[in-house]
């Protein structure tokens, strides 16, 4: 926290919402990507004040109380090598472009970005060993030009701006006319609007195959999906018909994604070996998307076994706009390690869908 010329860096205080949202709307209007939207106050409050494990916010505020920059993220519990860490999904970051002219116009944003990384990033258990997000092209340029030590002959790089790229994002998409998959095994999909407690045991089974996976228990999932103030998600629970055991789940929503109307599989968790559940959930998602007259799409890492299985089921690869970037505090959690070992879906990015 501190004072710099013309603005102060500080934490969120109740009552900041109006100024945050007004600044965000101005900033988004200037971005190159037309599908970006400023959240409503209800969504902002859900995202940052209601998140089950808390949030991290740094603001640049001028003497009149106007928010010039906002850097914020949601804390997610992540199971890493058998231990829980708290990572931060950085979701809404902006600098108000009308605050100043010339080169000084980015100062509040950079100051908020630096303060955020310095105050929240660092080794566990006190800090957050991974800050991650999907930065806009503008933010990536900051990271590239100011973060690396080699960019300027006379100035050292600023390590708290040196975000690493984990991967580019790709969508796997099934067109509405694609042939359906044949059913495998004796699995039924139960539709529900919220998650039962038993999903925690499913998560434990699924997590065994991954080096890093955000905890998908009922508390997190019901906040992420069931309690969303504006979006309606449908949850498909794949159960073995014989005994009702939970074998996997998927979350579906019809949404605008990067300017396209899609049936999105917003989350997907099926432990290795549960092929019947995977097929049943894909069939369920395809039926939902067909009924909505939309394609069915999912974002999963190309290092996941599902990446191949979805293609074999007829999903085709298409580029998505963003790059996944991280600011890691531990070498073993660098971008190369996370690329290979971290499972993510849209659920890990509360702003996206």
């Amino acid at each position: 926290m501190g004072e710099t010329t013309g603005f102060q860096i500080r934490a969120y205080r109740p009552g900041d919402e109006d100024s945050i949202l007004a600044g965000m709307a101005r900033a988004i209007a200037r971005e190159e990507e037309p599908s970006l939207r400023a959240p409503s106050e209800a969504v902002w409050r859900w995202r940052y004040l209601d998140a089950p494990d808390g949030s991290c916010i740094r603001l640049a505020v001028d003497p009149e109380g106007r928010v010039l920059a906002h850097f914020a993220g949601v804390i997610l519990r992540v199971l890493v090598g058998g231990k829980i860490q708290r990572w931060v999904a950085v979701d809404d970051s902006f600098g108000d472009p009308s605050a100043a002219a010339g080169l000084g116009r980015h100062r509040p944003f950079l100051a908020a970005m630096r303060a955020f990384a310095q105050d929240f990033g660092g080794p566990p258990p006190d800090r957050h060993p991974v800050l991650y997000g999907l930065p806009t092209r503008r933010v990536l340029r900051f990271s590239y030009h100011l973060g690396l030590p080699t960019r300027h002959a006379k100035r050292r790089g600023d390590p708290v701006l040196d975000w690493e790229m984990v991967r580019e994002s790709c969508v796997l998409r099934l067109d509405p006319g694609s042939p359906g998959e044949a059913e495998v095994g004796d699995v039924a999909v139960e539709e529900t609007a919220s998650f039962p407690e038993e999903v925690g045991r499913l998560f434990e089974r699924a997590a065994a195959g991954w080096g890093a996976l955000a905890v998908r228990d009922a508390r997190f999932l019901n906040w992420r999906f069931a309690a969303h103030p504006e979006h309606r998600y449908d949850v498909g629970l794949a159960r073995r018909r014989a005994d009702g055991a939970l074998l996997g789940y998927a979350v579906y929503r019809l949404a605008e994604f990067e300017g396209r109307r899609e049936g999105l599989l917003c989350d997907w968790l099926v432990p290795a070996g549960e092929d019947g559940a995977a097929v049943a959930l894909r069939r369920w998602g395809a039926r939902r998307a067909r009924a909505d007259g939309a394609s069915l799409a999912i974002l999963i890492p190309d290092t996941a076994p599902e990446w191949i299985a979805f293609q074999e089921a007829g999903f085709r690869l298409h580029p998505a706009r963003d790059f996944l970037a991280v600011l890691p505090a531990q070498r073993r959690l660098d971008a190369n390690g996370l690329y290979r070992n971290w499972y993510t879906t849209l659920a890990d990015f509360p702003r996206l869908a």
């Binding site: 990536l140 030009h145 080699t150 991967r167 293609q311 085709r316 690869l317 298409h318 790059f323 190369n336």
Partner: protein
């Protein structure tokens, strides 16, 4: 401490460059076939794009070598030069693992100071393994364009070669017309003209490529595909090294696909491998044809001398094929 002389290649350096090159790449690789002088000349002095080599010399010894193969690239209707970083190494006696930045980075920095500019090369790319990607990002300003996946297809029993595709010995002037037709919506791409294609594939001194063409109305070139059997990225991989077909010409594409499949099967390939940018309709089309996108450890990395020519631009506008990678 050695005082190195850093300078670009001069005629007559070839012998000492090859000495260090063959020493470096034979380390721990009993199967290594030394590079010959004619191979070196093909890669550098005969490259239509020019020579980009920066040496660190200790007397007559090449202590470090940083180089690129530049190509003519069409970007928004204009031509410029872009290079692929190749053959970059340090002599074993001059490595200093604990010193940062070491001779490798210092040589690379001088290379970029000398050549990375609109007058020489607008940018460079390279296919990096994780270790070199980490160093390239940290010390040489490389950006990630994509984690490079391969489109892979297991081979199935094949019918006879299709009638519509013919093997050609060389490319002619019709290739440039086809390229102009295909590339009008691309952000940027290495220009596929007669000169480049014949240098890249027909005159290659080590590898044998099979070039298939389909003729269009009036004798035009409707599409081509280039195939080679290789042991990279997997043993007995059939590489679809280059592919140029207008996206709307599905029939031409299917004919070339069958020709490549038949040839791959005949040469004993166990799989076929290609790369396409995800934005290309051919990426989805090959998916429909049973090619599966599989991850690899490789990173396609690049840098440029313009801030706007960043990873977003490259990822969403750069036409890339295996032809863009010297390993293919």
């Amino acid at each position: 401490m050695t005082e190195y002389e850093y300078r670009p290649y001069r005629a007559g350096d070839e012998g000492r460059i090859l000495e260090t090159h063959n020493l470096v790449f034979s380390e721990g690789n009993p199967a290594f076939l030394p590079r010959t002088m004619s191979e070196w000349e093909w890669a550098y002095t005969r490259n239509p794009g020019g020579v980009r080599v920066l040496l660190a010399l200790d007397g007559d010894l090449v202590a470090a070598h940083y180089a690129a193969q530049p190509y003519r690239v069409r970007m928004g209707g204009k031509d410029c030069s872009f290079g692929q970083i190749v053959d970059s190494y340090v002599h074993p006696a001059h490595r200093s693992a604990l010193k940062r930045p070491g001779l490798y980075v210092k040589t690379a920095e001088r290379f970029f100071e000398r050549f990375l500019s609109p007058e020489w090369d607008t940018g460079y790319w390279g296919l990096a393994i994780p270790e070199t990607w980490r160093m390239g990002r940290r010390f040489l300003n490389y950006q990630l364009v994509r984690r490079q996946n391969f489109l892979v297809r297991d081979l199935r029993p094949v019918s006879a070669a299709p009638a519509g595709a013919r093997e050609i010995d060389a490319f002619d002037g019709r290739a440039a017309t086809l390229f102009a037709r295909c590339s009008k919506d691309w952000g940027y791409a290495v220009v596929r003209d007669e000169r480049y294609l014949n240098w890249r594939f027909v005159e290659h001194p080590r590898h044998t490529y099979v070039c298939f063409a389909v003729d269009g109305p009036g004798g035009a070139l409707a599409g081509y595909a280039v195939f080679r059997l290789a042991d990279w990225p997997a043993p007995r991989a059939g590489l679809l090294a280059d592919w140029l077909v207008p996206p709307g010409d599905g029939e031409v594409g299917a004919t070339l696909r069958e020709a490549v499949l038949e040839r791959a099967r005949r040469e004993g390939a166990t799989s076929l491998v290609a790369i396409f940018p995800e934005w290309s309709p051919w990426c989805a089309r090959f998916g429909e044809w049973g090619w599966i996108s599989r991850p690899s450890d490789y990173v396609l990395a690049a840098q440029s001398c313009y801030p706007w020519l960043d990873m977003h631009f490259m990822r969403h506008g750069w036409w890339t094929q295996l032809a863009e990678i010297d390993l293919a």
